[in-house]
């Protein structure tokens, strides 16, 4: 085989391979959104129970992704979970914003939902969200349901 032909094929192969890697990273993975909000600010919130929330889970408001979960820690002072959120700079939220851990669909992944409040003052870098709502844990819900049923029966 001629040297030039060989080089051509290998060149095509390498370009195709790197192209495939780029497609994987940009089109299929979310590298674009990963750093797109290069400028983010950090807020945190304490949750009594985070359920199955994971680091890098999306933070959504009205269904729009506005940030990502940066870190999850357990606090030995308050005995609850501290969730740190990276929010894109272009999305500002009032101080009294309500954060809750929600589930996409019945069995989908969990994410943090933000409901904007009415405060004039906006959340800033390092602020803590005061109003939070824990994840709905299926077992607890079933337990509460059974307990209610049982107490209903007691009436009779």
């Amino acid at each position: 085989m001629q040297r030039a032909t060989l080089d051509l094929w290998v060149g095509l192969f390498v370009i195709t391979g790197i192209g495939a890697l780029l497609v994987l990273s940009l089109k299929i993975g979310n590298l674009e959104t990963y750093h797109s909000g290069g400028d983010t600010y950090v807020i945190s919130g304490n949750f009594e129970n985070i359920g199955g929330l994971k680091v890098r889970a999306p933070v959504k408001s009205s269904g729009v992704v506005v940030g990502r979960v940066a870190d999850i820690q357990f606090s030995t002072k308050t005995y609850d979970a501290i969730v740190t959120l990276n929010i894109e700079n272009r999305y500002q939220f009032p101080k009294d914003t309500f954060a809750s851990i929600l589930t996409a669909g019945l069995l989908g992944e969990q994410y943090v939902g933000l409901d904007a409040g009415g405060d004039e003052v906006m959340l800033e870098e390092g602020d803590t969200i005061m109003r939070t709502n824990s994840a709905v844990v299926l077992e607890e819900m079933i337990g509460r349901f059974l307990f209610d049923k049982a107490s209903e029966n007691d009436d009779f």
């Binding site: 192969f13 391979g17 994987l24 990273s25 299929i28 993975g29 979310n30 590298l31």
Partner: protein
């Protein structure tokens, strides 16, 4: 009777020692190949030549297999997911299975059985026909001149082939789910994009395929160079390459997965 038991135990011991000795030889050989890789880097043309034979010529099998694996995943995923009313998640399922596991693993298995065995046969035949000995007598190091370029071509080809496999697979899944079955185009892609993570999924998949490339190429060149210089020896070595690399790929996949996704 006790004689039989003793000889059976001796057999086990003998095989164990032989296996350990072989592993030691393979490790030393691997280090030797790395040590003598300077020539491959200085004269990259040598590697380019092998990239053609092991990379470019593996493309067809990788592209076709990737497409079909993706199509099957799309079909199976749709059948299962629609029971839960979440058929739009089929894109996520296809992409995650491919990028995390099937892309690197299946591409590596295909690479081992096509390019890996070809590598073993080539080096084994060169040894059997005294080409390596002749080269050595001409003061040209066969490990630097013949083995190392093939090894590096394998190492470079593998991640590229695995990425092509995954992309073809996602395309196959798209064809089945969106074009044939009619899952919503937009939610197919958006669900996929919001659930496939660059670092956790794609980068880890890429790292896996790099490890597989090193393992398969190292095994293939070792078996070739270590083969008995006869037709039978080369055929035994070829079988060994395919069997050993397949087992190593699967074992390594488990270990890497445990490290990457469970943080052990």
């Amino acid at each position: 009777m006790s004689k039989h038991i003793i000889s059976a135990i001796q057999g086990v011991g003998h095989r164990t020692l032989e296996g350990i000795r072989r592993l030691g030889r393979a490790t030393l050989y691997f280090l030797l190949v790395l040590w003598k890789s300077g020539t491959s880097l200085k004269r990259f043309g040598l590697v380019v030549r092998e990239l053609y034979y092991f990379g470019v010529l593996s493309l067809i099998i990788i592209v076709v297999s990737g497409l079909f694996v993706g199509m099957v995943l799309g079909l199976q995923g749709y059948e299962t997911l629609q029971k839960y009313g979440s058929e739009t998640a089929v894109g996520t399922m296809v992409a995650l299975s491919l990028v995390r596991e099937l892309g690197p693993v299946v591409a590596a298995l295909l690479f081992a059985s096509s390019a890996g065995s070809a590598m073993t046969v080539e080096i084994g035949l060169m040894k059997a026909t005294e080409q390596l000995a002749a080269m050595d007598m001409m003061a040209v190091d066969p490990v630097a001149r013949v083995v190392a370029p093939r090894f590096w071509a394998g190492v470079i080809s593998m991640p590229l082939l695995a990425a092509i496999f995954s992309v073809m697979g996602v395309f196959g899944g798209y064809l089945v789910a969106v074009v044939f079955i009619g899952v919503d185009d937009g939610s197919f892609w958006s669900q996929m994009q919001s659930n496939v993570d660059f670092r956790v999924d794609i980068l880890n998949g890429f790292i896996k395929s790099c490890f597989f490339g090193i393992a398969v190429s190292a095994i293939a060149v070792f078996e070739g160079h270590d083969s008995l210089p006869t037709a039978e020896g080369v055929s035994v070595a070829t079988t060994r390459t395919v069997v050993t690399s397949s087992l190593v790929i699967l074992g390594l996949d488990f270990i890497l997965t445990a490290f990457m996704f469970r943080g052990l």
